[in-house]
């Protein structure tokens, strides 16, 4: 899974236009970053990296890059 793969998935998960979400995008600016987006993000990372990032960790993430860091640290 590349950064680009994740960004494509993540834009769709939060209901944003493709290409409008970047690694430094702050999560609190995304209206669609809600509990349903948490589920799809956990599923995507578990499926693609074998890491089930917990919701407590997701709450701590400030940017999209933070989510990727958390997931990769768990590998």
């Amino acid at each position: 899974m590349t950064d680009e793969d994740f960004l494509r998935f993540f834009a769709d998960a939060v209901g944003a236009a493709e290409g409008s979400v970047h690694l430094d995008t702050e999560l609190q600016t995304l209206e669609g970053w809600d509990s349903v987006a948490y589920l799809s993000t956990m599923t995507y990372l578990d499926e693609n990296l074998g890491v089930a990032v917990s919701p407590d960790q997701l709450v701590e993430a400030k940017t999209v890059a933070d989510i990727l860091k958390l997931a990769r640290a768990g590998q």
Partner: protein, 348 residues
């Protein structure tokens, strides 16, 4: 040691349907689209006000006695599973013993667990039979979780349904029935599924009855059921696959040797992912949640009775059942379906 198995199971759903369209009107089309994408539950069956979980359990038991050739006087133990009892005390099982006209020398108690209750009850029933304490155990489940939620909490209203069930557990030959169990608990997650002001830790007051909206607009008071869906999902996708492998190792069977995998019917999105993660062929599982909702501890007897009805459980079949939820608590068992289950009553 006397071996035992499920010999008959009946399930009753809440008599009313809370439809997708009704909830679209309540929560809005876009919100329900999102909820549906994360749950896969379209409609749910709920009990009307005034109907308790024990009423559904009672109805399921009477249906079972009417359908199968079994004498209720042969029941010498009753286990009633619920988290929505008639009263905090007395134990609802005692009331059900009388309502069902069971023997007075019949043991009876409630088992207070939620989604994991059915397999836990099977563990207890099989142990009672193995130890000679009982010979035929009636296991009832019945919950009306829809009556614990705030009607404007879209995190839980679109998920939950109400149901009850009745199962007879009795003796079978060695090599049949329950082959083994795997149980687990993680109480550190107790706040993920909780009805906070429902007992003595947080007594009900005027303050606990005040409903407030969370940041996603879900309305509830401390007297309502709360679910942290993301935390429960994380728990499920990490715990369930490990537990499936552990119970199979315990009974010395491989994934390929299981004919049917039955999961607690929490929500379809979660189940689809678990099936994919465990690489289970679609024909080796069964779903029963889209039109019923998550009926708490009754999802397992519900999905089992539906699979039996559809001919998916044949004598000799190896069935793995796994349940998980509030507690946090989980349980799995593997059953080799017996050659002889309870016969149907002869037609009059």
């Amino acid at each position: 040691m006397q071996h035992s198995s499920i010999l008959a199971v009946e399930c009753v759903l809440g008599s009313e349907t809370l439809s997708f369209e009704t909830l679209e009107e309540r929560f809005g089309v876009e919100n329900m689209r999102k909820v549906f994408s994360g749950s896969g539950i379209r409609n749910r069956r709920v009990a009307p006000a005034g109907v308790c979980g024990s009423d559904l359990a009672f109805e399921a038991a009477e249906n079972l006695f009417a359908k199968y050739d079994v004498d209720r006087s042969s029941i010498d133990f009753l286990i009633h599973c619920t988290q929505t009892p008639d009263y905090l005390l007395p134990t609802t099982a005692c009331i059900l013993q009388d309502r069902l006209h069971l023997r007075k020398d019949c043991g009876a108690f409630d088992l207070n667990l939620g989604c994991s209750q059915y397999v836990y009850a099977m563990t207890v029933a099989s142990s009672l039979i193995a130890s000679g304490v009982a010979t035929k155990v009636l296991v009832l489940t019945g919950d009306t979780m829809s009556q614990t939620v705030h009607p404007m909490d879209r995190a839980v209203v679109p998920i939950l349904g109400d149901a009850g069930s009745a199962t007879i557990v009795g003796p079978v030959a060695e090599g049949e029935g329950f082959l083994g169990f795997e149980l687990g608990t993680d109480g550190s997650g107790y706040k993920y599924l909780i009805n906070p002001a429902s007992g003595f830790r947080v007594p009900r007051t005027a303050e606990t009855a005040i409903a407030v909206a969370d940041k996603e607009g879900n309305v509830r008071s401390q007297e309502n059921f709360f679910m942290n869906g993301a935390a429960v999902f994380h728990f499920a996708i990490t715990t369930v696959p490990k537990t499936v492998h552990k119970v199979l190792a315990k009974v010395q069977l491989s994934m390929d040797q299981v004919d049917l995998f039955l999961f607690h019917q929490a929500n379809r999105y979660m189940l689809d992912y678990l099936v994919k993660k465990l690489q289970i062929p679609p024909e080796k599982t069964h779903f029963y949640v889209e039109e019923t909702g998550n009926t708490s501890g009754t999802t397992m007897p519900g999905v089992l009775s539906d699979a039996i009805r559809l001919g998916k459980v044949k004598p000799g079949a190896v069935v793995l059942m796994i349940v998980f939820g509030v507690g946090l608590s989980w349980a799995a068992t593997v059953v080799r379906w017996p050659e002889k289950t309870l016969p149907l009553k002869a037609q009059a």
